[in-house]
Amino acid sequence: MRKITIDPITRLEGHGKIEIFLNDAGEVANTYFQVPELRGFEKFCEGRPSEELPQITQRICGVCPEAHHLASTKALDDLFHVDPPSPAKKLRELLYSSFYVTDHTTHFYILGGPDFVMGPDAPVAERNILGVIGKVGLELGGAVIKTRMQNHKIIHMLGGRAIHPVFGLPGGVSKGLTKEEIEEVKQIAKESVEFAKLSLQVFDDIVLKNKEYVDMIVSDAYTHRTYYMGLVDENNKVNFYDGKVRVVDPDGKEFAKYAPREYLEHVAEHVEPWTYAKFPFLKNVGWKGFVDGKDSGVFRVAPLARLNAADGMATPLAQEAYEKMYSTLGGKPVHHTLAMHWARLVELLYAAERLLELSQDPEITDSNIRTIPTAVPDEGVGIVEAPRGTLIHHYITDERGVIKKANLIVATVNNAAAVNMSINKAAMALIKPGKEITEGLLNRIEMAWRPYDLCLACATHSLPGYSPLPIKVYDSKGELIKQSPPKD
């Protein structure tokens, strides 16, 4: 049996590895996407005062701390039975919209985009952000950096620093915005809307006008008919910060809609012996293995899933972009994993528009930003849409608010089963007996997971810095016959 290892996989946050096992005939026998690390966050939250959890849990990740911070803060609202004043909710959503602009920008231009902008077969030395800037031009490259920097500034204004904000409190937030600050936010929001429009234009020019790419997006190798999950507002429009969880079936019909507190009635977790990642599935459909279709409880989260699970976008330009995506790809729901990149840009535009709306809201500079909790804490659930999908924080405390049990279901974990299936399907379709396993081919397999924007939630990812990526190919005797040059 031959074994191909892609370890560690690149352009994702955290660490993981992909192993592909071939049979003697050279066909794919099985594939495993493994997360070989155990973090233990839930365990060491036990015994801590619950008020510390928005600070502790956001350390799960240096990339999406804002998502954990707000899911945790909302869990505390529920835990302490307190409803924050409206300006506090709007400030939270404003910070979160800024965060989305930075995160989706990073993914499209730096993590996921290079495959399309440079092409899957481009040399690794060019298939990165520098290659992208070379192709789209220095001006847009500068706009990418500026957009990220400006929105980090908004996060800094409210959160006190650029990363790991000190902001959310049970019943509100720690700081509001001054009249001077909001003027700057408005300006940044306007520029972010223009940047998002431009990004959709870039996608149109580079990806949609290239028949080869469009054929790849709609090809069977990158398609799975699954259930989709995402938060929606009272009009069933996509919402990142608040609302009910809506699940649609593979035909796009509403399958379930529930409040955060009810999540355990809908989601259960399947365990496999070969990875620390658990596999959430829809309890009321059941775990049928790593298969798609209406009878399998596998669901997907993240941008495309959110758009599939909703009836539209709550802002006008994003709604237009949403309609264009579905009319181009043949209606709802879209099952093509690679369309996730497009859906992400639709969301980038929504986040920027929502940021602008909130910055123009007369209530946003109101000083009523906290309701002091007075009830005895017991149990709380907070759900937000992290950029990578539905994120659940669930805490149970004693009467002093000390954590007895914490359960965190992170976005990437919600997608874990689907990611495995996507890798398996792409590998089966691309690796054939007698066909040389080229770098481009291995990259096309990586392209099956990259749309999910995996965050394997790893605090160690900044040390020792970027890992080189040896893609190792072994022959049937286990000897290394091919090794790709390091990437990133």
Partner: protein
């Protein structure tokens, strides 16, 4: 010409704090009107935010090399990364 001196590393991780410490020592010896000195623990893409707006950057960091000994000093310029 705006110049940035940027010390990278983690101040509580022994050898990895060298970039931090050098930047701190340089701060008192450089004319702050011409040179900005910063220390940071961030890495990767987040560094872009710090580099924006400068014409020149001097980055001080600890690296691990195959042949090198602890304490060796390397001067690298952009061509070394081609």
């Amino acid at each position: 010409m705006r110049t940035l001196v940027l010390g990278l590393g983690n101040p509580i991780l022994s050898d990895d704090s060298v970039g931090f410490r050098v930047a701190q020592l340089l701060r008192s010896q450089l004319d702050q009107r011409e040179v900005t000195v910063l220390e940071t623990g961030v890495a990767g893409l987040n560094l872009l935010d710090l580099l924006v707006g400068y014409d020149k950057a001097v980055i001080i960091d600890a690296i691990q090399t195959v042949e090198g000994k602890a304490g060796d000093v390397y001067h690298l310029d952009p061509r070394d990364f081609d």
